[in-house]
Amino acid sequence: MALVSPLFDAWGVIHDAAKRLPTEGLKVGFLEALAELEDYEYHRTRKFPKTRLHRVVGYKEPVYRADVDKISGWRLHLQYEDGQIHLKDIVEGQKHDSVLREIEAKKIRYERKKTGPK
């Protein structure tokens, strides 16, 4: 059995999604998104091909956004608290950041210096 990284839903996002998502296709997409977000393997590899999970820029608290469906624009908002991922909201398409669309894909990585005996 696959290892699971639990998702918490104290805000009733799953209930909200079941009511608000307008088509069966989007509801299935939502289930697939939840499945990816709670699959340990995707967390281990830090790759989320379906949901394109990413950190939302500009908040001290670790806030994340994930696709329910790329084309319709429905998104899940999540927050990382006490080592766990919490579902926070489901948001309809196109209500996203504009300034961040222009962020350059190029990223420069700075590795931590190795520390140890000299």
Partner: protein, 132 residues
């Protein structure tokens, strides 16, 4: 499963088109100063985050709805230049994201900071504070 703090080893720099445009317009000396400031800042952020945040400034207070806090700062580069950036801990991907928004003259920092805050947060900013 989430990444433990010990594994958070990477600082990832992201730049907006606005920042890249600002950088292109600077003189070679000023550009070099910006890059040197960033290099030192990343070292501090990696090795002594408290020291980094002691140097980072908030030109205006930003109060957000929903119990969230802004991670938008400005950094001083010499006497005349200020960088506007967000610093975001990213435990799921084991990194700290630094997003560079602008490099402006010091007398433009409040206006640019306010403008970026409005783009980032839109209607999430609480009323009755200096960022409005």
């Amino acid at each position: 499963m989430p990444v433990s703090p010990q594994e958070r080893t990477t600082i990832t720099e992201q730049t907006t088109a606005g920042f890249r445009r600002d950088l292109d317009r600077l003189s070679p000396d000023d550009r070099a100063s910006v890059l040197e400031t960033l290099r030192r800042s990343y070292e501090l952020l990696r090795d002594s985050p408290r020291s980094f945040f002691a140097r980072a400034q908030r030109p205006l207070p930003i109060h957000l709805k929903g119990g969230l806090s802004s991670s938008l700062y400005s950094l001083r580069v010499g006497r005349d230049i200020r960088l506007i950036l967000a610093v975001d801990d990213d435990p799921v991907f084991g990194q700290t994201l630094v997003t560079l928004f602008r490099a402006v003259r010091h007398d433009q920092v409040e206006r640019s900071y306010r403008s970026i805050a409005h783009l980032l947060y839109r209607n999430q900013i609480e009323r009755n504070n200096g960022a409005r």
